[in-house]
Subunit: 252 residues, 4 copies
């Protein structure tokens, strides 16, 4: 197997497609949003991308074992062609992140991708009522369009920058003159957060003018809320403090 190994399933002709990335990350916000679109639309699997930079692992579905990797699906988002990138894992090393992202961009360019949206979550470290979707972009015009669609840009935030595949799709995308942006759904960060994913999809619907039912995400959000309530009740009884900023770990 090559360092990155691209399996071609189908090569539909797409017009000006957007690359939409939703790999695992903070509260799984990006992965939930990407998975929801693949389920909601008639998705065509076009590429599987394997790499020695992913963990040495197979995933089990039913009785069947398949090599861990990422998948690229084509969907027609009510007139706008979109390639959705999803998968099981982030690469295992810094160099792996660079090499795999370059391969993703090669594939994207082979489909004529004209812009990139990386999706993820940004932890607030406390329970929040109002979910904002924060943004960062590589070009001013792209940032303007996102602000019009309801994305919030906070000067110099996130302070630590954006790491992982999402970050490099912007950084290396820009090096290829591909406009790229990152949409980050705010989330407490305690648990998988379908509510944050719903908010992110609302912004996307405005941006690309489509309408998708997020009922199933809302149901999962209610379930997660019940889990959270029980944890809080238990903590209140036990006189245990709710975790503060420093205790925050991603629980997915």
């Amino acid at each position: 197997m090559a360092s990155v190994d691209i399996e071609t399933i189908e090569t539909p002709s797409l017009e000006d497609p957007v690359l939409l990335e939703g790999l695992p990350g903070v509260a799984n916000v990006g992965a939930l949003a990407a998975g929801h679109l693949i389920d909601a639309y008639d998705a065509t699997l076009v590429r599987r991308i394997y790499s020695e930079h992913f963990p040495p692992q197979v995933m089990i579905e039913g009785r069947s074992a398949t090599l861990t990797g990422t998948e690229l699906h084509a969907i027609d988002l009510e007139g706008r062609d979109v390639l959705v990138l999803t998968g099981d894992h982030q690469p295992q090393t810094p160099i792996g992140h660079y090499r795999v992202t370059e391969a993703f961009l090669d594939v994207a360019e082979s489909f004529g991708v004209s812009e990139i949206i990386a999706m993820g979550g940004v932890p607030t470290g406390e329970l929040i009522d109002e979910y904002d979707v924060l943004g960062a972009a590589t070009e001013d015009a792209f940032a303007d369009r996102l602000e019009e669609a309801g994305v919030i840009f906070r000067e110099d935030e996130p302070a630590g920058g954006i790491i992982g595949i999402s970050g490099l799709l912007l950084g290396l995308g820009a090096r290829r003159d591909l406009p790229a942006a990152c949409l980050m759904g705010e989330t407490s960060g305690y648990l998988v957060d379908p509510m944050s994913a719903t908010r992110l999809l609302e912004v996307l619907q405005t941006l690309y003018d489509f309408s998708v039912d997020t009922g199933s995400l809302d149901e999962r959000a209610e379930e997660m809320e019940e889990v959270l309530n029980k944890i809080q009740e238990f903590e209140a009884e036990a006189h245990v403090d709710v975790p503060g900023d420093e205790d925050l770990r991603y629980i997915g």
Copy 2:
């Protein structure tokens, strides 16, 4: 030395051989099963495989030091040719796992291997009376044959997938259209577990229609049980809890 260095000892002509892997892992189940077959049959060492992805280490036997690596033995399992892969260590990095597994598959293909069985253990985290052998496969027909031989397939299990050389023999084997399966002997995971290896060999005997005396493994199993009993007595006296799920560490 090349990144992976294959030393040819002998190249017997084999008919449709099975590749049977038993490298060190959970409770050493796979390694015990593989070693037992090599001891029980008239095994021919055919290849030694070294790699910079293994630890920088020599092993000492008697007065003699030899470079750590893996060995491939050919055995005739009462009519069925089998190549048994054993060794001292797993590779040290994710990339190393991929590179070494590809080399194993190259060698396997050079012998005309027609199917692959990776053997290992799966920890239950508690002492168990009934040892099941769990399975996962890359092809449905292979899974059917294994179920007939007594292998248990549990929907989507193990949940974390299969990692290491065993996992990649399935994942990368499938990428080469080589049918592959993993047999995982259930084990508490506390200690080296010869009983789990015996159960795994029972399944193999049904699958490939051979009969091997596992008396020596049963003896070692009794010894391990005594060790375990003493640990439990000691813990009972000391009012120490038996380790729970979270305390489980592989002790080999």
Copy 3:
């Protein structure tokens, strides 16, 4: 992207330039000194240097995301051409340090650099009143010039040598017959230390005969001193010991 990717912005003709490195490190002394010179003089950005050996990360400025990396600015230090190397991060692995430093030296040689000064901090582990600037050099004649400019050479110090890009600019620079020295501003190491950077710039001014206003660094030094005083007051009240040598961690 290549393993190290050099983006050419401008290629001014420079005479015998000095390469002055100030990447992040102990108390950020080198980075503060380098940044101060870039701000104080009319700096020209000449190269951006990216690498897969840096973290997989974009930095956010305003609304804009840019790939993490290093920048090389040209400044005219009152008659002496200088190339100032600054950036966000050190490489992530030992090999990465070697590869990135070689690339820096390639660029430096392409501009005809005749000597190299690596700037950093050396932690004393206690609050200090008198800030010395320690030195190490690859050639005796260079060490002599530095001593005349007020740099202190302490026999065989620092005992642990110099690590990171600063260390390799000396070690690999010498392998190319490029005279190189490291200037290390003494610092408690508790906090970002603008006072140590000021002292380092005083030595540089003597060495290269220029005069720069360090007022803004002095102001930041006063702010840091207030922060430190408050920490000490708090510790005194709480009867907590001031951290000893072993507790010292770089806080930047």
Copy 4:
């Protein structure tokens, strides 16, 4: 710089030289023995070997900084040509150990080396009165000669094998048909152990029929013993237990 970079200083003609390795390790036994021979005989520096697999570091001697690496000196051991390999560090990764050791063996072969002795320490985990020198070898005839010279071979020991450059000089040396052995001076492992190095040199003197004054090592051994006595007195007063087997860490 290449992955491993060999600087040629001199290339004297040597007859059947032995390669004697003494890099840093357990209680620094090998390094002490190697350094003592370089000091005692008229050593000629023949090669410096640098590598990106060593730490990114310069060492400071006096005012001068030099890239970390290893040195190969030629000495005439009263009729027997010997190449002594010493240095500051072990490589930083498993792969680095393999690559650097292959380079050492390339250099050794270019000088016509006919056998290899790797020197190190083996920790006993308790204070010892009688220092044995343990051995392991790649060829029986070599093991016989070592036993005649007083080296002790303990069946299958050390149980964990031999790791690092010493281990690979044996393992990879044997792959090139170069007879190789490891001499391991027993040591408590608490501190740098010149007494263990003296014992190792006694064996070497018998093996290669030379005589070297080890007075300076004996003096350092006495100093270390005083240090150890003071530590023990202090621990006795403080009613602190002497560290048991599990607490043993190399202190060098």
